[in-house]
Amino acid sequence: MPIKIISDKCSGCTKCVQACPFDVIEMKSREETGQPHPRFKKIAFINEGCNLCGACEPECPFDAIEITKEEKKPRVALDEYKNIWVFAEQKNGEIEEVGLELLGKGRQLADKRGCSLAAVLLGDGVKGKAGELISHGADTVYVMEDGMLKDFLDEPYTAAMQYLIEKYKPETVLMGATTIGRAFASRLAARIVTGLTADCTELDVDSSSGLLHQTRPAFGGNIMATIFTEHHRPQMATVRHKVFKPIPSDGSRKGEIVEEKYPGKFTSLSRVVEFIKDETQQVNLADADIIVSGGRGMGKPENFNLIKDLADALGGAVGSSRAAVDAGWIPYSHQVGQTGRTVAPKIYVAVGISGAIQHQVGMNSSDTIIAINKDENAPIFDIASYGIVGDLFEVVPQLIKQLKD
C-alpha cells in the first residue's frame, strides 16, 4: 500500500483513528502484528478501504504515517494536450445554462493558462446555437450533428466525444453535473483512461503546467478535497448548476465554428422512446434563484399553499424537506437534501424545517439562508444567515403581506 505506518514511531495514540473520515484506521496489538516495541503495545493499522485522502498524516504527532506516491508513467504524452474545453449540453436544441456558466469559468482558466477555450456541441440541428457559445466566451465551437445525437444516449455521445478528444487533445474538459453530464462524463473518462472529478465547487489552473486544481465537497459536505489528475489527459471535471457565473453575452465576440463529422456510424443499444414532461417534476429546483421550502412543521398538505404563496411573493420555487415528502404532503421532486436534490440558490428559505444534517447537505451552499422555526434550538438556525423564531403560521402570512406592500 502506498500508505504505511512507521513502526518505530507509532505510539498507538489513536489520533489518526480519530482523524480518518472513512474509518479505515484501527489499532492492533503489536504482538499480533509481529511488530514489538519496548514501550508501546498498540500500533495503527490502515485497512484497504483507505483512499489516501491524507487526513491522518498531519494529525500524527510522531510523523509515523508516510504516504508515498507511487511513480506513475503517464499513459499519453502530456504536452500534446492543449486548451480548455467545455461540453455545452443541449436539450431539445436549447443550450443548458450550466454550459454557459462553465464557459464563464473556462474563460478565466484559459486566460490564466494562456490557451484557447472551446465549446463542444453535440446534437441534431443545433449548429445555429454555436454563436451563443461564442458570445459567452468560446474561441472555438466544435459542432457535430447527427440524428443519433439528438437526445442523449451514452453510447453515441461517448463515441463522438472520444473521437473529438483523440483528434484535438484538449488539456481540460469541463462538463455540467446534470443527469446527462454525470453519466456521460463517467463513461467517457473510463473509456479514455483519465481522471474525473465530480461536482467541483472551485477550479483553478497552474499557469505553467496546466494542472487543474479541482476542489469539491465530500463526505456529505463535511470536508473539502482538492484533487489533481497529474499523469492523464484530458483532466475532466463536472460542475453543478449555479456554481459559476456566465460572462455577459457579447455579440461582437469573434470565434470559429468547426463542423465535425463522425467518421463511422453511431450505434446504440438503448433507445429513447420518448420524453415525458412531468408536472410534478416541473419544479426545476436546480435552476431557481430563490427556493422556499416547507418541512414537518407544515403539519398537513393544504398548508403548503402558504409556502407557495411566499415563493410567489419572492418569485421563487417550492422545495421541501424529506419529512414532508415522506408524509405525502408534496411530491418527491420537491425534496431538497441528501436523498433529494442539492441546490444552491441565492436565497433559501426554510420554513418549519428543523435542519437535520441530511437536509443541510442539500442546501448549505446557498448564498443566503433564511430560517423560520418556532424552536429556537433547531439546528437550521446554526447555518441561517437570518432567522425568525416564531410560529410559521403567523410569521409567513406577515412576510407575504409586507413583501406585497
Binding site: 419529512a323 415522506d326 408524509a327 434550538n377
Partner: protein, 388 residues
C-alpha cells in the same frame, strides 16, 4: 452491558424490532393516534420480518421462542408506540389458548397462519357484565349435534374485526358457574359472528378495540379447546403467559417516555442552562430510570419463568404486570412534567405515552385483581409451609 445474557438470536430479534419501530412506526405514530387508525401496514411489516413467529414452536412454522422473545419485541415496539405493540401482542394472546391447550390438529391448522402473520388472532373474554368477574359470563354455547351455537356479546376486544382467529370464552353449562365455561376457536367470517361498536379510546388509539357479536353462530365441536368446562383454566393459564407481555409493554412505554424526556431535558435551556443540569430534574430522571430497571427485571424474570415451564407462575406474572404498569403510569406522568407546558401538547410525544400507559393498569386483569392474585398466592404459600 448484557445482564440478561441474551442469545444472538434474541439480540437479533430485539434489534430488528427496534429498527422497525424507528423506521416504520415513529414517523406515523402521531397520525395513527390522532386518527385512531389501525396500523395495518406496520402489521404487514412485522409479519414479513417474521416477528410473529418468535413465540410459536418451530414445528408449527415458528422460530421456537416463547414468552421472553415476545416480551423483548413488545418492549421495543412500545418504546415508540404502545398501540402498535399491543396490536402485535394481542395476536399472541389470542394464540396462547391454542398454543397451551390446543389439539395437534388445531395447532397445525392455526399456528402457522399466526406465526407467519398472515392472520392476526384475538382473545375474547370481557363482556358488558363480566370483566374482572369472569364467572359472570353471559355468552352461551349450546351443544347441537356436532357443533355449538354461540350467543352473546364480547366487548373491548383488542384486534376485534382485524383478527381472523378468535379464542372465545362462552358458558357451556351455566349451572356449573366458572367450571361451566369453555374456549372456542371462532374464525372471522363464520355465519352469525359479527362486529359491533368500535371504541374511541383515551390511549393506544391506533389499536382496534371492538365489540364481538354472536347471534346463533354455529361453531364445529372440533373447535373447542381441550374440552368442555376447561374454559377458566385455559383463560387463567393464558393470562399467566400473557401478563409478562403487558409488563413488557409497560416497561417499553415507560422507557420510551423517559428517553424522550431526557432528550428534551438536555436541549431545553432555562436560566441559561439545560434543565437536565438542575437537580430537581436530574433526580426525577434518576427515579424514573431506577423504577424502569426494576420493572424490567421483574418482567424478564416472569417471562423466563413462563418459558421454563415452572408450574406456578401466576404470582410472578401478576407481579410483573402490576409493578410494571404502575411504574409506566408514574414514569410517563413524570415525563410530561419534565416537558412542562410542551408535555401537555399533542405536538410532543410525552402526553401520548401518558395516555397509552393508563390501560396497562387496567386490561388483562386490573391491578386490583393482580393484587388479589398475588395476595392469595402468598397466603397460600404460607399455609403450605410447615410450622416448626
Amino acid at each position: 452491558m448484557n445482564e440478561w445474557q441474551l442469545t444472538e438470536d434474541q439480540k437479533m430479534m430485539r434489534d430488528l424490532a427496534r429498527q422497525i419501530a424507528q423506521e416504520k412506526v415513529k414517523p406515523v405514530r402521531a397520525e395513527l393516534d390522532e386518527k385512531g387508525e389501525f396500523p395495518a401496514e406496520i402489521m404487514k411489516v412485522l409479519a414479513e420480518s417474521d416477528l410473529f413467529a418468535v413465540f410459536v414452536p418451530e414445528q408449527y412454522g415458528g422460530l421456537g421462542g416463547g414468552c421472553f422473545e415476545l416480551c423483548l419485541i413488545t418492549e421495543e415496539l412500545s418504546k415508540v408506540c404502545p398501540a402498535v405493540a399491543v396490536s402485535y401482542a394481542a395476536s399472541a394472546l389470542g394464540a396462547y389458548p391454542i398454543l397451551l391447550f390446543g389439539s395437534e390438529e388445531q395447532k397445525k391448522k392455526y399456528l402457522p397462519q399466526i406465526a407467519s402473520g398472515e392472520k392476526l388472532a384475538a382473545f375474547g373474554l370481557t363482556e358488558p357484565n363480566a370483566g374482572s368477574d369472569a364467572g359472570a359470563l353471559q355468552t352461551t354455547a349450546e351443544k347441537d349435534g356436532d357443533s355449538y351455537i354461540l350467543n352473546g356479546n364480547k366487548i373491548f376486544i383488542t384486534n376485534g374485526g382485524v383478527a381472523e382467529i378468535y379464542s372465545i370464552l362462552a358458558m357451556t353449562d351455566k349451572s356449573k358457574g366458572a367450571r361451566g365455561a369453555s374456549v372456542f376457536i371462532v374464525e372471522k367470517g363464520t355465519e352469525g359472528f359479527d362486529f359491533g361498536k368500535k371504541e374511541d379510546k383515551l390511549g393506544i388509539r391506533a389499536s382496534v378495540t371492538r365489540e364481538l357479536v354472536f347471534e346463533n353462530c354455529r361453531v364445529p365441536a372440533e373447535n373447542v379447546i381441550r374440552k368442555e368446562g376447561m374454559g377458566f383454566i385455559v383463560a387463567m393459564k393464558t393470562f399467566d403467559s400473557s401478563r409478562p407481555g403487558i409488563g413488557a409493554q409497560a416497561v417499553g412505554t415507560a422507557q420510551g417516555a423517559l428517553d424522550e424526556a431526557v432528550d428534551y431535558a438536555r436541549q431545553r435551556i432555562q436560566f441559561g442552562q439545560p434543565i437536565s443540569s438542575f437537580q430537581a430534574v436530574r433526580h426525577m430522571i434518576a427515579d424514573m430510570a431506577t423504577k424502569i430497571e426494576a420493572a424490567r427485571s421483574l418482567v424478564y424474570k416472569a417471562a423466563s419463568a413462563v418459558d421454563s415451564g415452572m408450574k406456578d407462575v401466576s404470582k410472578l406474572s401478576a407481579m410483573a404486570k402490576l409493578f410494571a404498569s404502575d411504574v409506566a403510569m408514574e414514569v410517563t406522568t413524570d415525563a410530561v412534567q419534565i416537558f412542562g407546558g410542551y408535555g401537555y401538547m399533542k405536538e410532543y410525544p410525552a402526553e401520548k405515552f401518558m395516555r397509552d400507559a393508563k390501560i396497562t393498569q387496567i386490561y388483562e386483569g386490573t391491578n386490583q385483581i393482580q393484587r388479589d392474585v398475588i395476595g392469595l398466592e402468598v397466603i397460600k404459600e404460607s399455609t403450605k409451609k410447615k410450622i416448626k
